[in-house]
């Protein structure tokens, strides 16, 4: 899987898990995901839902520390987090 394919998958996953009425192309790669001021206006419950889906689908655990929590900033950071330590 290449990085672009992964980002498309992540957008589809977020739309499905968070039940957002959006298409993948509506989500820019650098859109802010979490927070009422964010582009997607997702909240902490959405963040937890996404974190569990990432764990189940990609085996990567997003926990409470700042470094991994930053993975949920945008599609770009989430893709970087998943691809870290993986060989493309």
């Amino acid at each position: 899987m290449d990085r672009e394919q992964l980002k498309l998958e992540l957008k589809r996953m977020i739309i499905s898990e968070c039940e957002k009425d959006l298409r993948p192309e509506d989500i820019p790669d650098d859109a802010v995901l979490i927070g009422s001021q964010g582009d997607l206006a997702l909240d902490s419950l959405d963040a937890l839902q996404i974190a569990l889906a990432v764990k189940q689908q990609y085996g990567k655990r997003i926990d409470g520390n700042n470094q991994t929590r930053a993975a949920l900033t945008s599609i770009n950071t989430l893709a970087d987090f998943i691809l870290a330590d993986k060989t493309l």
Binding site: E17, E19, D21, L45, A53
Partner: protein
């Protein structure tokens, strides 16, 4: 005096394992906003309550009294499977909706209500429990309006859903969401009264004294079978049994709602109970 200001419901026999009927088109039409994170139980609650209050003006402090025998069973199964079978942490959206009270939250949000919001489950006597509390609150002036709903969901496959409830393999199943808007001191076409009896013979005597041509008596699913058979002998041809209908735990709420909606003459009596805890009789008439 408690008047039924409005009533409506959703009742659907479920006879196929293929899929449950989609409720989304109806919800898009009836709900103020599209809701995320809702399960089928919440969908059913939203659908029934929205149908009931269509065209009505509710007081913001109107109380919500929601009951169910099985509650959000489909979502509970998914969550239990995640936890026990898959040994995974349940997804948050599934986990929060295992609480039956989630449905009351969404109903309140959809209808703009901020009063008390209660969820009560007492298996096959849930309508009795919910109405008992709502009527008591109305009579004591705790609330002036009460939106009372009973919601029952089917979780596929049907054979497992029957087995879970210890139902015979031939029993037809149903989903339902049945709602009444009650108001104290309101003279309406339909008045609701609740009677309690310690002895079945006292209940029978009351029925003999109140019975008029065209009245109907329904035996709820929590009714002791021997008592139901005894009433069938006393009122031949006048009795509807939950077991003869497409079934869910709160079918008594479906009958009350259907009767309240219609203009059928006479009275509807709904009886539930057993010889241990006594008998409750709802009388719905003019």
């Amino acid at each position: 005096m408690i008047g039924i200001v409005a009533a409506n419901h959703y009742l659907q026999p479920i006879e196929s394992d293929a899929s449950l009927p989609s409720l989304e088109a109806d919800l898009r039409e009836l709900c103020r906003e599209p809701f995320r994170r809702i399960d089928r139980f919440i969908q059913l609650a939203l659908l029934g309550s929205a149908r009931c209050i269509a065209g009505q003006t509710l007081r913001p402090e109107c109380g919500i009294y929601l009951g169910s025998g099985l509650g959000p069973i489909g979502n509970n199964i998914v969550t239990q499977q995640q936890l026990i079978r898959d040994r995974e942490i349940p997804k948050p959206f599934n986990f929060i909706n295992t609480l039956g009270s989630s449905a009351g939250f969404y109903v309140a949000k959809n209808l703009g209500l901020s009063g008390q919001n209660l969820f009560i489950s007492r298996r096959r006597a849930s309508m009795e429990a919910v109405l008992n509390l709502a009527l008591a609150d109305l009579l004591r002036g705790v609330v002036e309006q009460a939106l009372v709903g009973l919601v029952e969901e089917v979780a596929l496959p049907l054979a497992v859903h029957r087995q879970r409830q210890d139902l015979p393999a031939t029993q037809v199943l149903a989903e339902g969401s049945h709602w009444l808007l009650l108001q104290s001191g309101q003279q309406t076409a339909r008045q609701l009264r609740l009677h309690r009896f310690d002895e079945l013979s006292t209940l029978e005597n009351f029925l003999f004294g109140s019975w008029m041509q065209g009245d109907c008596l329904c035996c709820a699913s929590g009714m002791e079978r021997s008592a139901e058979q005894r009433l069938q002998r006393q009122f031949p041809g006048c009795i509807v049994s939950a077991w003869d209908c497409a079934f869910h735990d709160s079918l008594d709420a479906a009958w009350l709602t259907e009767f309240a909606i219609g203009d059928r003459p006479g009275q509807l009596f709904v009886v539930n109970g057993n010889s241990m805890r006594g008998w409750v009789l709802f009388q719905l008439g003019a």
